[in-house]
């Protein structure tokens, strides 16, 4: 026998968690869903296909003040770091895998303490999901049963979510919501089927890429691509950023901000002298895909794509990264 949250008690569980923690969960926004700090527990859902943006926005905001300054005095003030204890409630496993990959990016080589400090007090409550036409996490080594990194994992059975506490933090979360829990049989793991799938094993992906530099698929894809950068913005593992100074008009005050950037933009590699080092669109398409499946994978052994399917769902040119990958075979 397991413990489980009845579906009707989800908002009550969120309310209980909100007493001690900030809770971030999926809430509806128009016809889509977004991750947001919960202010109205009844809006929280555990049954959502995907959110518009991944969790990276909480740790690397789209516009992130590095420091503020005064031009006259040349004084610099660095914002105080955050480590606000937050429960991320109802998170799909590929989402957390995306964050873990960014943890690697920001801690390897020179450490980005800003990111690492913000990540310190995160608690993750995972939930299973029903793959839609775009998800392909299974193909990149993240089957729906994967619970790595979670403190609590919820598995959906009709009207119940089976609760498994996986860490000490998870046990305290379970204790905090215990009045919502009931006994439940909830045996095994539900079988899920991915409609979007790579036609190769995770191990085979790297091999495929090393020799694919001049494959015609890059130019074919580039003919459709608008270089709009949507795939970068919505990607859980894209973290490239630009740095800009912004001035408060009419004053000497300003701030240096880092903003999300896109390797699909022509200017991304352009130096002051005018040369852009990936000036062809197909060079940029290949670069992004190579970052996902070859460059970082060579160092970590894991694809830097988590199969969330956002770039497929949101591509303004209807490019499916899985089709591109399958064309390489």
């Amino acid at each position: 026998m397991h413990r489980a949250i009845p579906r009707a008690k989800v908002s009550e569980a969120v309310s209980l968690l909100s007493r001690k923690h900030q809770v971030v969960a999926a809430v509806p926004k128009g016809k889509s869903f977004v991750f947001a700090a919960v202010t109205e527990p009844s809006l929280v859902t555990l049954d959502y296909p995907s959110t518009i943006l991944p969790l990276k926005k909480f740790f690397l905001p789209p516009t992130d003040v590095i420091f503020t300054f005064d031009r006259k005095s040349q004084e610099i003030a660095v914002p105080k770091g955050w480590s606000q204890p937050t429960v991320f409630f109802g998170i799909h496993n590929y989402e957390l895998q995306g964050l873990l990959r960014l943890d690697h990016a920001f801690s390897s080589g020179v450490r980005d303490e800003t990111w690492l400090e913000r990540r310190r007090d995160s608690i993750f409550v995972g939930v299973t999901y029903e793959p839609d036409a775009c998800h392909f996490a299974d193909s990149v080594g993240i089957p729906t049963r994967m619970k790595d990194g979670f403190d609590v994992f919820l598995t959906r059975f009709d009207d119940h979510y089976r609760v498994e506490s996986l860490t000490d933090k998870g046990k305290s979360i379970e204790a905090a919501i215990k009045e919502t829990l009931v006994d439940c049989d909830c045996p095994g793991d539900p079988v899920v089927h991915f409609k979007n799938a790579l036609r190769q094993s995770v191990a085979g992906i790297r091999e495929t890429f090393h020799g694919a530099y001049n494959h015609p698929v890059w130019k074919e894809t580039a003919r459709k691509c608008h270089s709009c950068g949507t795939c970068n913005v919505c990607c859980p593992t894209c973290y490239c950023f630009d740095v800009d100074d912004q001035i408060v008009l009419g004053t000497e005050a300003g701030s240096r901000v880092r903003t999300w950037d896109s390797c699909q933009f022509l200017d991304f590699t352009k130096v002051a002298g005018g040369e852009a080092f990936r000036d062809k669109r197909h060079d940029r398409v290949r670069h992004r895909m190579s970052r996902k499946f070859a460059y970082i994978t060579d160092a970590t052994g894991q694809p830097f794509c988590v199969g969330c399917g956002r770039c497929v769902r949101q591509c303004t040119a209807q490019i499916n990264i899985v089709d591109v990958m399958n064309a390489l075979l």
């Binding site: 980005d112 303490e113 800009d244 100074d245 002298g273 080092f277």
Partner: protein, 288 residues
Amino acid sequence: MMAATSVATRAAASRNIYVPEIADLVRVEKMSPLETLFEVRLPGGRGLGHQPGQFVQVSLLGIGEAPISISSSPLARETFELVVRDVGNLTSALHRLKAGDRIGIRGPFGKGFDVEQFLGKDVVFVAGGIGLPPLRSLINTMLHPGRRGDFGRIIVLYGTRTPAEFIFNEERASWENSRDLEYHVTVDRATAGWSGHVGVITTLIPDLTLDVANTVAVICGPPVMYKFAILALRSKGLRDEQIYVSLERKMKCGVGKCGHCQINNIYVCQEGPVFNYGKIKDLKEAIQ
């Protein structure tokens, strides 16, 4: 979205890898219509501790940051020099500054030249235009009286489009008559009063007499120059492993995070900007 802002301590600032240190400009010297030399002193005259070939991120609050190569030798300890071409937003704003003004500095960043690898070797420098300042850091390190005997011949090839773009005129004049190095200069296009060599910099290479087995070459210049310089050096018999290149890329963060300088799987700001050509020759997108 979570947000909490209040003024932090100096300790927090020093941990943040994106926050510059405010330094003094002790000398600003116009070198050519487009290029200016800036001599920079860090707080307390602390040494930058750089390697020839490394770069710093130069900041102007309200304008932004740009990566600039260090053009002075690490042997001068209390200040360092940057030579900046007026070509972008930040560099153009820099050109309006004078001695006594302040700029932000982060770095040094990247991997420069390991001079110990050049011990006993003849070194050919191929410096195209604004490629001279980064190489000057290495040239002056090798020319230092205490170190000159550690190296073989020093051969400096320098080229610009026209004589108007020459920089380091006094220093180069001293090279003309120096026994410590062999200096050859060329311009792509002669203008009135120029009686020297005319032709792109690679035209200086075929006439060199080299002890090929004991020679290394170092290239820095505009992106278009590398392919031709490498071809010319290979024609002299140099192997790829005997050639070093310093590559220009857009570098926003300097710490291997922002992604702009990436060549395939290499972050130029971390593993470069100085590379042994033999190690990157198969890296697509490295040499245009």
